[in-house]
């Protein structure tokens, strides 16, 4: 007889509440205790990444920040109720009461209500123009206010971690940004005065003005009315700091109101008291994340919250698990500055310090009895892993003075300290180096393998470079060749950079290079980043700072020829073109005196257009119902077809329709190299599908799929991947294959060499794409769906936008003039002089 289902109710759908749900569903097993799961979220949005909130103003959209998949949760049987507020807990009846008057029964209740921002009790703090910084709703309101009038100056109240994040958000909105902090230094909880002073210099360089020891007495309005919009902050003592917008980010307070009202024990400084099993004073109720107070301590970081979520999920499944406190070390980029703090040093400890004002580096490590107790690093995080491991006791303290000096200055006279397996690598998911090394020993060969096996790097993503380094050194030790860094400006490979950009949801070159690179980049990394941003669906390739990254051809959406003129290639999906479109192309070519040639990809190429003629030519191409063919990009080019069973007496399937469907689906997809496909209607193979990156050949029963071939300098035959697929299977596998290639190939690496570098060959590729061995097929399909949804013809959009059209002038100071190539005539067409 099976036990009745255990009714589990979660209050709160933030990052930690969602992690609990994910943990519970991911490890659900048939022999475990059955449960019913109800999730009650007060916000109307499903769980999103609060840590990355400021990226919202750097181009990210709500769906980029979302970490929950409501449809999948509902499909898994979860009763998900968003926009649902819990007003009371009745512990005797084991029910929670909702705002609408109804009630939900529970056998076990999990409180994941998080925290509220702390707004200091300052008169005027509720004026229009004063905001909190905690939710997406807050951000929407901040943006609306900032853009809703002549608002120039923003002030953040609070100089801690969150306050500086909020300052970054205001910067992104283009406001002159100030930070006021009551303490005598920035990040008072983590930094001492010298470290804070160094951070202050960096922040000031970014034109963020910090006012320390600033106690706000009152917030004044534009006039005396209580509801007049904010005009500034008055400092105790009388000085006025003008402000058009004020954002409070002065810390958070556990949201324990429900628990307190229900009589649960509350910590002295807030938070619901929990034991090592994360149980509250009522054994039917657990608390996790920022609302929980464990051993007198409330954790404001996501890592400990995730650990608690895992403990409670294990318990619900009937296993025993304990939370024994968590490491609160942090290592992050704050406004582009590297900052780390680790351990719990005491003011009585000995100190080893290094400070170089010229480079803005300050590093301090505290010791007690010769053992590292903690430290802080600003501007240079070298040796962090070793110092951190020493502070946790995972590694013996040694060579500390040498480790405190930045690695770049020790010139490799260095410190060859091997980090122990016990040293932590990913703090979000508490993954040790040992666990990662075991994963490599067990067969992980790529970053995707490694993150799938260990979950390391899937939280904030901050450890991905270290993870990459570990993967490379382990592979080296095993004698397996691994890919190398992209260029002098990035230490990671293209694949690692792709993962970083994806994890961090970067939307601009600036944020990518600030976070993961250095300098202004070069002709290698800039187009590589442009390609990755485009593959991940970040809008038009000429928008924002992406325009500056594009290779010459992408920048003007045409192919430069040897005399500096351009060619024009409209898309002709599947090679099918109407007589009217043919006539239109003929007339355009005649009117602009363009050389005309049929390409190898069943398209028509028009040569000899001047830069300034491109918009006029494309306006006519678009008017004729055609769109960009992306011949200028490392992108999907064409899907060639034979006429198939529409006309051919041998054809067994409609190859033209399938080719057109595939070409339309993947048009505009940016990839490490150009991509070509083909569909043949029978095994006679007239479309030459086996020489393409992906080739489809019709059979009586469906479609055979061939992958990773190419023509060109080094021709390769595509290899058979799967047989007799139906239409839906074919498209699903193509979605996954193309995105897997886009994500993992090196820059300028075509599918054939990429395939050759995959250990395990076609069997491995099948296991990833058909059997989902890496557990990434959902992500691959979601990334492709995002690309398809966001696809727009780049030329159509360019013609509508004066900002983009301004690039199509040869001489900036003489728009009506142009250089004069020498032309000759050959076989009745115009070509460049030889």
């Amino acid at each position: 007889m099976s036990a009745p289902a255990h009714r589990v109710v979660v209050v709160g759908n933030g990052m930690v509440g969602q992690r609990f749900v994910d943990e519970l569903l991911a490890r659900r097993s048939d022999d475990g205790r059955p449960f019913e799961l109800t999730v009650l979220g007060a916000e109307s949005l499903p769980a999103y990444d609060r840590v990355a909130l400021s990226s919202y103003f750097d181009g990210a959209e709500v769906k980029d920040l979302t970490i929950a998949d409501p449809a999948a949760m509902v499909e898994a049987g979860v009763d998900l109720r968003l926009g649902t507020e819990v007003v009371a807990i009745d512990r005797a009846a084991r029910t929670v009461a909702l705002a609408d008057g109804s009630a939900v029964d529970y056998d076990h209740l999990v409180l994941a209500t998080g925290s509220d921002p702390f707004v200091p009790p300052i008169p005027g703090a509720d004026r229009p123009g004063c905001f909190e910084y905690r939710t997406i709703d807050d951000l929407v309101a901040i943006e609306a206010w900032a853009r809703g009038g002549d608002r120039r100056t923003g002030v953040v109240v609070g100089g801690g971690l969150l306050g500086l994040e909020a300052a970054n958000a205001l910067r992104h909105l283009g406001l002159a940004t100030h930070v006021v902090e009551m303490a005598d230094r920035l990040m008072p909880q983590q930094l001492d005065v010298p470290a804070s002073a160094m951070l202050h210099r960096w922040v000031a360089d970014l034109d963020v003005h910090c006012h320390l020891g600033f106690a706000t007495e009152t917030i004044v309005g534009t006039d005396d009315a209580l509801d007049a919009p904010v005009a500034g902050l008055v400092r105790a003592g009388g000085e006025l700091l003008p402000a058009d917008i004020v954002v409070f980010s002065a810390g958070v307070r556990p949201r324990h109101g429900l628990a307190a009202a229900a009589g649960l024990a509350i910590g002295e400084r807030g938070g619901v008291i929990v034991d090592d099993r994360c149980l509250t004073s009522d054994p039917d109720i657990s608390a996790v994340g920022e609302v929980a107070c464990h051993a007198g301590r409330v954790y404001g970081l996501v890592g400990p919250g995730y650990a608690m979520a895992a403990v409670v999920a294990a318990r619900v499944r009937g296993e025993d698990a304990r939370f024994e406190g968590a490491d609160t070390s942090t290592k992050l980029k704050l406004l582009g500055v590297d900052v780390a703090s680790f351990g719990t040093p005491s003011v009585h400890d000995d100190r080893v310090e290094f400070t170089d004002p010229a480079t803005g580096v300050h590093r301090r490590v505290s010791l007690s009895g010769g053992r590292v107790t903690g430290g802080v690093l600003i501007g240079d995080l070298s040796n962090y892993d070793a110092l951190h491991a020493m502070s946790t006791g995972a590694m013996e303290s040694a060579e500390v003075p040498r480790l405190v000096v930045p690695a770049a200055l020790t010139d490799g006279v260095g410190v060859a300290l091997e980090l122990p397996d016990g040293a932590q690598l990913c703090s979000c998911n508490n993954v040790t180096r040992g666990a990662c090394r075991s994963a490599v020993a067990d067969g992980a060969r790529t970053m995707a393998d490694l993150t799938a096996a260990t979950a390391a790097g899937t939280g904030c993503g901050g450890c991905v470079p270290d993870l990459a380094k570990l993967l490379r050194s382990e592979l080296d030790a095993l004698g397996i060749e691994s890919k190398r860094s992209l260029c002098a400006h990035f230490d990671v490979t293209r694949q690692e950079l792709f993962d970083l950009i994806r994890f961090h949801r970067h939307r601009s070159w600036r944020s990518v290079v600030e976070a993961h690179g250095r300098g202004r980049g070069c002709e290698i990394c800039r187009p590589a980043v442009a390609s990755i941003l485009a593959s991940l669906g970040n809008g038009h390739v000429l928008d924002g700072d992406q325009a500056g990254l594009q290779d010459t051809n992408d920048h003007v959406l045409a192919n430069m020829q040897r005399n500096g003129t351009y060619s024009v290639v409209p898309r002709v999906p599947g090679g099918e073109i109407t007589p009217d479109q043919l006539i239109a192309l003929g007339e355009i070519a005649r009117d602009f005196d363009l050389y005309t040639k049929i390409t190898g990809a069943q398209r028509i190429d028009l040569f000899g257009a001047r830069l300034d003629q491109l918009p006029a030519i494309w306006a006519r191409v678009v008017a004729a119902g055609m769109e960009s063919g992306h011949a200028y990009g490392k992108a999907l080019r064409t899907v060639k077809s034979c006429v198939g069973d529409t006309w051919c007496r041998y054809g067994v399937q409609d190859s033209v329709t399938m080719a057109i469907e595939i070409e339309r689906r993947y048009r505009g997809l940016r990839a490490p190299h150009k991509l070509k496909g083909a569909v043949s209607g029978c095994t006679r193979e007239c479309a030459e599908a086996q020489s393409k990156d992906f080739g489809v050949i019709a059979t009586e029963a469906g479609w055979n799929l061939y992958l990773c071939g190419n023509g060109g300098r080094t021709p390769r035959h595509a290899q058979l991947f799967a047989v007799d697929l139906d239409d839906e299977q074919l498209i699903t596998y193509l979605d996954r294959f193309l995105m897997f290639y886009v994500r993992t190939a090196d820059r300028l690496e075509r599918t054939a060499p990429w395939f050759e570098s995959l250990e395990g060959g076609m069997d491995y590729l099948r296991s990833v794409i058909i059997d989902d061995a890496l557990g990434i097929c959902d992500e691959l399909e979601a990334d492709m769906a995002r690309h398809i949804e966001r696809y727009r013809c780049e030329w159509t959009e360019t013609l509508d936008d004066p900002d983009r059209l301004k690039y199509f002038v040869e001489f900036v100071n003489a728009p009506e003039q142009h250089s004069t190539p020498v032309w000759i005539t050959e076989r009745d067409q115009r070509i460049p002089a030889r």
Partner: protein, 143 residues
Amino acid sequence: MTSQLHRDLPERLNGPRSTAGWQDVCGVDEVPVDRGVAALVDGVAVAVFRLSPSEVGGAEEWYAVSHVDPATGAPVMARGLVGSTADEPPVPTVASPLHKQRYDLRTGRCLDDGTLALVVHEVEVVIDAETDRGARVRVRPGA
């Protein structure tokens, strides 16, 4: 092969040293950051580049070189990608959009082929107070 491809520009570049002074070219905002534009200065095609600061807190850098690609004779250099080398300090570069040779923007020297070089022109940003046109870019043609 240099001069057959284009009728006018290469000859002018190889012509006598210009004695003209500074020439107003365009507004600062007309040059996208980390990109180039071409301009006609005394009939000579000049590529003007605006580079983001090479380090946090640094100033933007401006360079002007000949617009004609020395390897092919095509007027395309302003459409090349800018960047910097791995040297310390880094060398600001532009790569030809045709065959990707990199040139030192400060000296015009080609980093990949010692037989090639770009002509370097002087460039500066000035505030045009008289006409209220804001920050302007101006160029003085070099040899």
